[in-house]
Amino acid sequence: MRTPLPLFVAVLLLLSGCQTVPKDALSLTPESLAERQIQTRKYATTDEARILAACAALLQDMGFNLDESETRLGVISASKMRSAVSAGQITAAILLALLGAPMPTDKEQKMRASVVTRPVGEHGEYMAVRVTFQRIVWNTQGHITTSESLTDPKIYQEFFGKLSKSMFLEAQEI
């Protein structure tokens, strides 16, 4: 039998061909604006350093360690490692193991946060604060199972609720 050479080569080329970046990875999507609104509040102050300090303190309250900061640009980035074990997954894994099909489960996760402040308003009389969270999850075999941005609006509501309290300032939607 003759080897179907062209097909073989085509498959091989496909496999060796490098992955290319998704089309929307570097472009604005229809959701971009909504996400910005969820992740941003403005405060009636011009004191950027004070807001940054309050954000740093809040991140510490949340158990984050600060990785980097640049006050001149209003940037703080922070991260923490936490468990990613979930009861549901463990139950499923036990059931599968009983059936003779062991399954790795999520083990730990790195949670990352970055806070960016910038003056807004006609005369820069407000400070906008935008926080973004993301996480990477590893399973018991050390493979990454999830890497995502956290987009649940409740997360951001809680963050800004706490920030407002610590600053004694009302958070306003942008």
Binding site: S16, V21, P22, S27, S32, E68, E70, L73, R130, S149
Partner: protein
């Protein structure tokens, strides 16, 4: 028989062709550097480096990136986007002549460098909108 030998030779040469040396990987020397630089760079008619950096940062946030680090003196910002893939980008801002700033971005997608002009074009379109300025092709 001959076909089979030919097939094996092609397979081996293709798989070997995929293997770059560490030095080639380190310098990414398979890509044309001058061409890549022009794809990754635009000039803006402004002198305000700090404001440009702040706009770069908020544009990256709009694009779904989390900011890793920023340095106003060096004029650099690095950020990561996670969406079941990982894109890491570094953007630098530096003066060009008396009236312009050069903005350069370089990105990697998982473990591959991003070399497609479209991706950088999209980034600069988003940045232009936020800057309220036109991005010029840097000469």
């Amino acid at each position: 028989m001959k076909t089979r030998v030919a097939a094996i030779v092609i397979v081996v040469s293709l798989s070997v062709a995929g293997c770059a040396t560490t030095q080639q990987r380190l310098f990414d020397s398979d890509s044309s550097q001058m061409q890549l630089r022009s794809i990754q760079t635009r000039a803006f008619d402004t002198k305000d480096k700090e404001k440009t950096l702040r706009t770069v940062i908020s544009t990256l946030q709009d694009l779904g990136f989390v900011i890793d680090k920023a340095d106003a003196t060096l004029g650099t910002v690095s950020a990561t986007k996670l969406n079941n893939y990982a894109v890491r980008i570094t953007v630098t801002v530096r003066p060009r002549g008396e009236t312009r700033l050069l903005v350069r971005a370089n990105a990697q997608y998982n473990i591959e460098p991003v070399t497609e002009p479209e991706s950088y074009q999209q980034f600069f379109v988003a940045l232009e909108k936020a800057m309220f300025l036109t991005a010029h092709q840097a000469d």
